[in-house]
C-alpha cells in the first residue's frame, strides 16, 4: 500500500515561535526548538519527521508564512 510521506522546511529566521503550527499538526511532528533564532524566538522544527504526511495544516495556520511543505507517495517498506 502506498504511504504518504511529507516534510516541512521552516524559514528559521522569520519564525516567531508562536506555536500555532504545533497544535495544528495532527501527527505531532512539530515542536519548538530549545535554541533561538537571531531575534530570540524558539523557532519551530520537525521533531518527529517520520510522522509527517505533508497535510499542509501547519503552513495554513502559520501567520508569518514561514513553512514550505513537500509531499511524496512511497511504497511501504516491508
Amino acid at each position: 500500500m502506498a504511504k504518504v510521506r511529507g516534510a516541512i522546511v521552516v524559514d528559521v529566521e522569520k519564525c516567531k515561535g508562536c506555536g500555532l503550527c504545533v497544535v495544528a499538526c495532527p501527527s505531532k511532528v512539530i515542536e519548538l526548538a530549545r535554541e533561538v533564532n537571531a531575534k530570540g524566538y524558539n523557532y519551530a522544527y520537525m521533531a518527529n519527521p517520520e510522522a509527517c504526511t505533508g497535510c499542509v495544516n501547519c503552513a495554513l495556520v502559520c501567520p508569518d508564512t514561514v513553512i514550505t511543505v513537500y509531499r511524496v507517495k512511497t511504497e511501504a517498506e516491508a
Binding site: K14, L20, P63
Partner: protein, 253 residues
C-alpha cells in the same frame, strides 16, 4: 526514505505566494493579521488580479499592510476606508477594490462610513478584523468587546450598565439591501483558514460580477492585547468569542 529525498522541487505542495513580500511582518507572534494577509495574497494571486486590485488600509496595526502584499494600496483616515474605496471604485470601475479594517476602525469611528457604503451597495469588498479590542493602541475597550471581557480601560471587565452592549455590526450590515454577501469567518484552525479562503475568493468574484458590497468579518485574536499566549488566545476565542459571534454566512445572494 530520508527527509532530504522528500525536500525536492517536484514534491512541493505548499510555499509562500509571490504576492507576499519577503519583509518580516511587524505583527506580534501568532497574530491573525498574518493569516488573513496570507489568504488574501493567495486569492489575489490565484485569480490573477495583482494588477487590478487596490487595497485601502485602515488605521491600526494593519496600516503597514502595503509592506507585505505586493498590490496597489491606499491609506485612509481613521474609519474612512469605505468612503475612499467608494471614490476609487467610481473612478476605476474595473478595478477590484477592497478595504481592510479593524473593529475600532470599522465599528466605532467609521460606523457612518461603513453603514452608508454598504447601504449604497458600492461594488467593494470589506474585510473586517474583529478581535474585540483596540490592538495597536494598547488593548482598550472597543464597541465589539464582549461583556465581562477585561481590557486596559475596563480592567474588571465590560459592564453593560456603564459601558453598553457589544455591537454585532455584521448582523446590522446583513440587513442592508446593498450587500450581496455577508459572512463571518475565522483563521484559528486549518479548516477555518480554508473556509476563509473560499469566502474571500467568492467575494472577489462578486466584485467581478458587480453584485454589490461583500462583507467578510474575521473573528480574530489579539494575544498581546488579551495578555495570553497565541495558542491560549485561540482557545479563548473559540470558547468566548464564537458563542457571541457565531461563524457562517449571514447573507448570500
Amino acid at each position: 526514505m530520508d527527509v532530504k529525498d522528500i525536500i525536492k522541487e517536484e514534491n512541493l505542495v505548499y510555499s509562500k505566494t509571490k504576492l507576499l513580500t519577503d519583509n518580516i511582518m511587524h505583527y506580534c507572534p501568532g497574530c491573525t493579521h498574518g493569516v488573513v494577509h496570507k489568504v488574501l495574497a493567495e486569492v489575489i494571486d490565484e485569480l490573477g488580479l495583482q494588477e487590478k486590485t487596490i487595497g485601502v488600509a485602515p488605521v491600526g496595526c494593519s496600516v503597514l499592510a502595503y509592506n507585505y502584499i505586493d498590490i496597489d494600496w491606499h491609506e485612509a483616515a481613521h474609519g474612512r476606508a469605505p468612503a475612499l474605496a467608494t471614490a476609487i471604485n467610481r473612478l476605476y470601475p474595473d478595478k477590484y477594490v477592497f478595504t481592510y479594517q479593524g473593529d475600532g476602525d470599522l465599528a466605532s469611528i467609521g460606523t457612518a462610513e461603513i453603514i452608508h457604503a454598504c447601504n449604497r451597495g458600492e461594488n467593494i469588498l470589506v474585510i473586517f478584523i474583529n478581535n474585540g479590542i483596540y490592538g495597536m493602541t494598547g488593548g482598550q475597550m472597543a464597541p465589539t468587546t464582549l461583556i465581562d471581557m477585561p481590557t486596559s480601560t475596563t480592567p474588571y471587565g465590560r459592564k453593560t450598565e456603564f459601558n453598553g452592549h457589544p455591537l454585532k455590526i455584521t448582523d446590522i450590515i446583513a440587513q442592508l439591501p446593498g450587500t450581496c454577501y455577508v459572512t463571518r469567518q475565522s483563521g484559528h484552525a486549518p479548516a477555518a483558514v480554508r473556509k476563509l479562503k473560499k469566502a474571500i475568493t467568492k467575494a472577489f468574484e462578486n466584485t467581478g460580477k458587480k453584485k454589490g458590497t461583500s462583507f467578510i468579518e474575521v473573528v480574530s485574536t489579539c494575544n498581546s492585547g488579551w495578555k495570553l499566549s497565541p495558542v491560549k488566545a485561540n482557545e479563548w476565542m473559540v470558547e468566548h468569542m464564537f458563542p457571541f459571534y457565531p461563524l457562517g454566512d449571514l447573507k448570500d445572494e
